[in-house]
Assembly symmetry: C2
Homo-oligomer: 332 residues x 2
DNA sequence: TTGAAAGCGGTACCAA
DNA sequence: TTGGTACCGCTTTCAA
């Protein structure tokens, strides 16, 4: 493989000059430039990012750390991240860490060795201190789907509490008179917010009892199992607000087995509005998070951090939107 | 950030020695080693992969090129690739190229600059010559979900024709008497195979007419639209074999709107058995490709190619398996 | 068992 | 406008 020296020799100039035309930096005579460009073509010269990285420039590589790319929320984020990254000349390393703190740290270590320029991370296991440490090591980080409001960390989440209220309000409007909530892991602040949104509207209802809230794990099977559990205790539930769409799908599957019709007997609404919501039958109502937008914004901000532009490191909350589909339709 | 020189100075040894303990290569006195290891810890030394890459070793990075990570088939592959890669110390770069040859080439160029060690690619647009060229540039490639039987290229696909036969046979066994096939892009050999499998069993049927085969695009909307089209022409279709699960879901959505019950009025079967198949209601019958296995095998073989172990570069076909679920259940 | 030094392929400063 | 050259951080002979 041709090197910059090969090019310089064949073009009869110095490597410095070749470097200049390569980077369009500094003065280069028009003709010289053309010669060099020509030689590059002839030699099929491809500059080594590794070498330029070593010589001081950045690696143009960022990492996307997610619990599990199979969870359909993340491919949508990944897609956005990758689109923006690619358009800015960055490359994306994909890391799955399965909510396993050890694997997570292992990965971070590996990323440090690679001297990546930054990280976008979605994690319920990472501690704010770890992120601060990363920044101290001058590796910018953007956190998505979780916020650390009391730390100077750039986080991107949605208006979870408001979204939850929208969902529950909608169920009430549709005539539901006993609404359950299946939540994700409540020790996570942003997950808790959704449960709080539910409580905001339901706590004062005559039918409300705490056992209408069940904590689960954001997975489809969790939604499935929790539903069985809920309906054993409260056979008269007529509305379910699931903490995310994946669990909502589990809810629908469970209801189907219980012989309950959606939306006739029970109305179901999820959260996130992943593409899956439009794939199931009946189509799932949901609270739309701007997933692509979150990914896009995350990457744009990360690049800003990398290039040293001024960005305020704090928790940003994006707008959500109620999306009504068949799973909460009027039961005529 | 500490460098190998910092370590060597503080430990009172040469960089060569530090390098040796780093790589556990060559002789190092037990005590010296411990000293060095200690200093590394104190300095929080993290070797630069970039530098070692430049100095001759590999980048320990491979690329996964897919049309679109949002297509649920690919996260499953990605997951496998990443698992194996990580366990061998490799890092995975994710590339979406949207079936856009230009973007694809653009990416390959970028990957060359990064001097990645190898590529796993799923593409219907790439030409065998491009892959051969890559290998000539000493970048090993493993192709998945597509085969180039007449080229010395390592490809991993499933027994598509046999799988299609299994699917259609099953529909026939379940009593279907007019079966349609919605296929993917037929110009791709492996896609064609599925259509041929369908024809193997249907061509001789009294009800068969060529217009029962519709070409589509492997996307959910394609399956949806094709179904509308098919039922306009043939309202009496009672079985649909979709070329992949995504289209099968589109089929079910379309049938739902047409007022046809699945599986009572029409039975539906897909291909791939992505996790989505178990998420929809009714659950989708499918022909199971060992997706995780394909990804795993792809990565294992890629590593073998990278490390120069002997691998026969040819098209391998993996076994498939019929998975019966609700969408083709008996209509009692 | 250890060290000196020549790269690896670029960048960028300083002179010319 | 151009060239010479000292690095960047690590690996790998070759000698000692």
């Amino acid at each position: 493989m041709a090197t910059i020296r090969d090019v310089s020799k064949l073009a009869g100039v110095s490597v410095a000059t070749v470097s200049r035309v390569l980077n369009k930096s500094g003065y280069v005579n028009k003709e010289t430039e053309e010669t060099v460009l020509g030689v590059m073509k002839t030699l099929d010269y491809i500059p080594s990012e590794m070498a330029r990285g070593l010589a001081g420039k950045s690696t143009s590589t960022i990492a996307l750390m997610v619990p599990d790319i199979i969870n359909p929320f993340f491919p949508e984020v990944a897609r956005a991240i990758e689109d923006v990254a690619h358009s800015y000349g960055y490359t994306v390393i994909l890391c799955n860490f399965d909510n396993n703190p050890e694997k997570e740290m292992n990965y971070i270590q590996m990323l440090k060795r690679k001297r990546i320029d930054g990280i976008v991370i979605a994690s319920y296991t990472i501690q704010p201190e770890q992120i601060l440490q990363l920044e101290k090591d001058s590796i910018p980080v953007v956190v998505i789907d979780r916020s650390f409001p009391s730390h100077p960390i750039l986080c991107l989440t949605s208006k979870n509490r408001e979204g939850a209220r929208l969902a529950v309000k909608h169920l009430l409007d549709q005539g539901c008179r006993k609404i359950a909530h299946i939540s994700g892991p409540l020790h996570v602040h942003d997950v808790k917010e959704r449960a709080l949104g539910y409580e905001d509207l339901c706590r004062e209802q005559p039918w409300f009892v705490p056992s209408l809230i069940v904590q689960s794990d954001f997975h489809i099977d969790g939604g499935y199992d929790s539903t069985k559990e809920l309906f054993t205790r409260h056979p008269d539930i007529d509305g379910v607000f699931a903490g995310n769409d994946l669990m909502a799908v589990g809810v629908m599957k469970s209801l189907n087995e219980l012989g309950k019709k959606v939306p006739k007997d029970v109305k179901v609404i999820g959260f996130d509005d992943i593409v899956l919501a439009r794939m199931v039958i009946p189509e799932l109502s949901s609270v739309k998070q701007p997933i692509y937008g979150i990914g896009k914004l995350a990457m744009e901000n990360l690049i800003r951090l990398i290039t040293g532009e001024s960005v305020i490191k704090k928790a940003y909350e994006l707008d959500v939107e109620l999306v009504v589909r068949q799973s909460t339709a009027d039961s005529e």
